[in-house]
């Protein structure tokens, strides 16, 4: 007898099979609630992506539109610390160019109204600058008298801090002025930058009467040019030879755009990182929720298989549901993303100098649609593909598991699942290296958390406490029993706490940097711009005020004349060396003293403290960075131009300097006995512990020495705290996406384990387990998972935040164990809460009801 072993089946186009569509639709309609986690994962992930990408596009467009307003002119020329030469000014005048200018420098302001004083930034404005953009002022302000040279304007922060109104007066150095305007927005300024150093706007012609610009004053001079009927090329051709001659730098609107783009790079990077994390967590949510859904649909699949449906037909029924709901989730996510982007300008308004105008853009919508569909399909296909392999025998025996076949299809999907986050990270960061690093970082964290989950299972089984009480044994055993969710829960919870802990640690390190600098006996007050004629009087005054002088440092301004026997011009002409031009032409502020201070460590050579005879060789000490930059050797000759006099020196020693300390640090230290007669000014470094004492000292100082400025570290700390509060708000708002997605994924994982535990809990209930015992088991099980995962995530964050602090922010790492402990406890409690919330439906119903309905 011949038997047929291969069937000639009719070819069916599965997607044209009407009943597949019909059944997919009807089944989905009854299961919307069960697919809630799936849709939520997509909605949050896509909302984050669309909101961030749309905001980035709008920001970029606004930078393009507002770059002129930010610069205030067509061209900015920067003369650094020297006034523009008369030759250059003549060049501007002879070419009939319209120009304005400003001189910016730090100084102290004094308000007679309430005797308040603080460090500010003087912005002495010349001409009608800014030419573009609008100065926004309080109601009742008058800018005309300012441009008429009669009055001054001040930043809003300053007015609020000292309760100043239009019409009040202030003192700058020796001169008094009436305030005619309170400025809320000056083109190019941000709220954050003005809270560090608020500005006082002064008409340039009135600058001299303040007497603030003296020897050693650090002033930035700028000229702002309006092209008028000339082109950029024409103006640059006219001015460039002169700008090159005097080493003036310039910025065009195009360059300003680029600079701004670069400044926002970190903001983009941070936002992109958040959207990346939200999307990856969303993808885990998709995979996890589809896994749960398919587990529930096994019986339906087995019935269909039994009635003759092929594996692919069954697969397509659920695949269509996933695609359809993925599309709906993506659409909802896009709508939410578009709405959220309208909130972002309010959240980040203090940090950006431009007004962000939100406009609808199709690009992020298209990106969201594409990524949403890829995400919902790609991460759903692997758990979905299991349904193709469900044996029809499962209809007779529920314990039959799908055949685990490692087919080419599954390998391909796994490969795509790895490629998706990598390609996404690269496209979001627009950098192969950075994107790959993001991806690698996440992958390593994933793998480590996975390993920890596996170790928990392994060690709990190995060292199982057989004599423990029933509830403890049951809950511990749940960690390693079949269908346990230990690994997935550890990964999800661990990742959430890892992200939160990283943010807390970086914030702490940034704050700690400043706090550390001012801790203990370290200086926290710096007085600068002290002129030689004020030296004795000031020291007496400081003594009277009972303030200890920690350092009184002389500063001499010099420039390099020659290095290793070659003049600076020769070095500049030589294109083969790697010495940066700026390090050759810059002004060097040097000091002289006979010993090292505590922020310095001698690396090589001998620190020469003094020279006794005038014809001795002068051995100076060079800072390590400068030593490396200029490829110097101990013994090399360096000739300085000290206020017109050449001084030949030799490199005697190399020092490592801790630049983070709030005190005077120098690239070059001369021995005593050589610069004492040179024109110089002084800086006084001290420590004042009480805030009140610092305030009263500052008040008295400004009255007596109006040109001397004071930096109060405690004030900077307070300002930094305020800024961090705002930054924290932005970070927390943006991190909300990740946290929300994390919660959805966590719920998904817990729901998954709920189904795994359902039958067992119902049976325990049936044979008399008390509700208290079941609740106890649930809480203990999720408590273990939350604790282990939270602890692992927090522990991993110590390593990554150390790496971020050291290599990305380049700051000292200050771990914040209190925040870590808080995050750990909160994550554990949250896990317990979600676990309890999800199992409460079983606990609150009668066993019979559940047995009838679900088992």
């Amino acid at each position: 007898m011949d038997y047929i072993i291969k069937i000639k089946r009719k070819k069916i186009n599965l997607l044209k099979d009407r009943w597949i569509w019909k059944l997919a639709f009807k089944d989905a309609r009854h299961n919307i609630g069960r697919l809630f986690l799936f849709i939520s994962s997509i909605v949050i992930g896509i909302a984050a992506l669309v909101a961030i990408n749309a905001f980035n596009i709008n920001l970029q467009n606004d930078i393009d539109d507002q770059a002129k307003e930010l610069l205030g002119a067509d061209l900015e020329i920067d003369a650094d610390n020297e006034e523009f030469t008369t030759e250059f000014i003549s060049l501007l005048d002879s070419n009939q160019l319209i120009y304005g200018g400003d001189a910016e420098f730090p100084s102290m302001v004094y308000f007679p109204k309430n005797e308040g004083s603080r460090l500010i930034r003087v912005k002495a404005i010349e001409g009608n600058f800014p030419f573009y953009g609008e100065i926004m002022v309080w109601e009742g302000s008058d800018t005309e008298t300012f441009y008429g040279g009669e009055t001054v304007m001040i930043d809003e922060n300053l007015a609020l801090q000292f309760d100043i109104q239009v019409g009040d007066s202030l003192r700058l150095g020796r001169a008094g002025f009436i305030i005619s305007a309170i400025v809320t927005q000056f083109p190019g300024n941000t709220t954050i930058s003005t809270s560090f150093a608020p500005s006082v706007y002064l008409p340039y012609p009135r600058l001299e009467e303040t007497g603030l610009i003296q020897y050693g004053s650090r002033v930035d001079y700028h000229k702002y040019i309006l092209f008028g009927d000339k082109s950029e090329e024409e103006v640059l051709a006219l001015l460039k030879p002169s700008m090159d001659k005097y080493d003036y730098r310039y910025d065009t609107v195009e360059e300003e755009k680029e600079n701004l783009g670069e400044n926002f790079n970190n903001l983009y990077k941070f936002f992109n990182l958040l959207s990346f994390v939200a999307l990856i967590l969303g993808s885990i949510g998709v995979a996890s929720s589809v896994h749960i859904y398919i587990r529930e649909k096994r019986e339906v699949a087995a019935v269909l298989r039994c009635l003759g449906a092929s594996g692919w037909q069954v697969f397509y029924i659920f695949f269509l549901q996933v695609v359809l709901l993925g599309f709906i989730g993506t659409a909802i996510g896009i709508v939410h993303g578009i709405l959220i982007q309208y909130l972002l300008p309010y959240i980040v308004k203090d940090f950006i100098p431009i007004k962000v105008n939100i406009q609808f853009s199709w690009i992020p919508v298209a990106e969201g649609l594409l990524v949403g569909l890829i995400m919902s399909v790609l991460f759903a296909v692997l758990p979905l593909s299991n349904i193709r392999l469900i044996s029809p025998l499962a209809i007779l025996r529920s314990a039959i598991e799908p055949v685990k076949k490692i087919s080419k299809f599954r390998y391909f999907i796994l490969f795509c699942m790895l490629m998706f986050p990598w390609l996404f990270a690269v496209s979001q960061t627009k950098s192969l290296i950075q994107g790959s690093l993001f991806f690698a970082g996440l992958l390593v964290t994933f793998c480590l958390l996975w390993l920890i989950g596996w170790l928990i299972i392994h060690f709990t089984r190995r060292f199982f406490p057989v004599r423990a009480r029933f509830v403890w044994r049951q809950s511990l055993a749940n960690l390693f029993r079949p269908n346990n969710q230990t690994i997935i829960l550890v990964v999800v919870i661990g990742l959430g706490s890892f992200l939160l802990a990283n943010m807390a640690m970086i914030q702490n390190s940034l704050l700690g940097q400043v706090e550390f600098a001012g801790s203990g006996e370290r200086p926290n007050t710096v007085l600068f711009d002290i002129q030689p004629y004020q030296k004795n009087e000031l020291l007496e005054f400081v003594d009277e005020e009972n303030i200890e002088v920690q350092q009184f440092v002389p500063i001499v301004t010099t420039r390099l004349k020659s290095v290793k026997g070659r003049t600076i011009e020769e070095w500049q002409e030589d294109t083969t060396d790697h010495i940066p031009n700026w390090s050759l032409t810059r002004e060097y502020r040097v000091t002289y003293r006979d010993s090292l201070i505590d922020s310095e460590t001698l690396i090589t050579g001998e620190f020469i403290s003094s020279i006794s005879k005038t014809n001795d060789s002068v051995f100076i000490s060079i800072e390590q960075g400068m030593f490396d930059r200029m490829s110097l050797q101990v013994g090399d000759e360096i000739e300085f131009n000290v206020q017109g006099l050449p001084v030949t020196t030799y490199v005697g020693s190399v020092r490592k300097v801790d630049w983070q300390r709030i005190q005077t640090n120098f690239m070059v230290v001369f021995p005593t006995g050589i610069l004492e007669k040179a024109p110089q000014f002084y800086v006084l470094v001290s420590r004042i512990d009480q805030r009140e004492k610092a305030a009263s000292f500052q008040k008295a100082l400004v009255k007596k020495f109006p040109n001397i400025s004071m930096i109060d570290l405690t004030l900077i700390l307070a300002t930094l705290d305020e800024i961090f509060d705002k930054v924290k708000m932005v970070i927390q708002f943006m991190a909300l996406f990740s946290v929300l997605t994390g919660l959805v994924v966590l719920s998904g994982a817990v729901v998954n384990s709920k189904y795994a535990r359902l039958k067992e809990n119902v049976l325990l209930r049936t044979i008399g387990a008390l509700k208290k015992q079941l609740v106890g088991m649930t809480l203990i099980e999720y408590g273990y998972l939350g604790m282990f995962a939270g602890f692992t995530g927090s522990l991993l964050s110590i390593v990554t935040s150390w790496i971020l602090a050291k290599y990305f922010f380049e700051i000292e790492f200050f771990p914040d164990f209190i925040s870590l402990a808080i995050i750990w406890i909160l994550v554990s409690l949250l896990t317990i809460l979600v676990g309890w919330f999800n199992t409460r439906s079983i606990l609150n119903r009668s066993p019979l009801e559940v047995l009838r309905k679900e088992v």
Binding site: M1, D2, Y3, I4, I5, K6, I7, R9, K10, I12, D17, R18, W19, K22, L23, K26, D27, R29, H30, N31, E299, V300, V303, L304, R305, C306, L307, G308, A309, S310, G311, W312, Q313, S391, P392, L393, I395, L396, R397
Partner: protein
Amino acid sequence: MDYILEVHHITKKFATGSREITVLNDISFKITKGEGISIVGPSGSGKTTLLGLCAGLDQPSAGSISLMDLQLNRMNEDDRAYVRNQHVGFIFQNFQLLPTITAFENVTIPLEIRGEKNIANKAKDLLARVGLEDRITHYPSQLSGGEQQRVAIARAFISNPKILFADEPTGNLDEETASTITELLFEMNREEKTTLVLVTHNIPLARNTGRILKLKQGKLEEDSLVS
């Protein structure tokens, strides 16, 4: 003889952890077209496993099974699914209706899978034959156990199967309903001239078929005709 099902020396083993359990051991029998047989035996004797293998729901570890000259043990899962759809009907103890579609849609599913058109009248006729003409738009959860099993019977017969496998069809029903369902099942089986393979604990029910296969500990202990 014209056999519809031929079972040759089949063995079925399951692996549970490191252990291997032999559920069926060297079983052979043949069923002719139109014949009705019952498979009986105590719990764990392998009745349901044997039914699953004969219906092509699973593969034997050894031996061969041919259904309508189609050698099931050498076919892949999708080919066997095709065979089931074309030639086999099923009735289960717990009805196994799809919960998210109506009684009418449940009945039409085998023909939908087959790709047939104009099936509504046939489904309605069948539902009327099982006495559910007024329940066609009801979902399974809105039907009683007996009504659900009637829907399952209608579903089993809609594809005009050559062979019908029934696994404890009255196991979940009360005595009165069970008796009605048994009558309906055998009546339709007679009308359609379908071969019936019935797995049951219920010896009186088994006696309604012409032949009884008795299993014990995975072996065919007895193959007897009902007198």
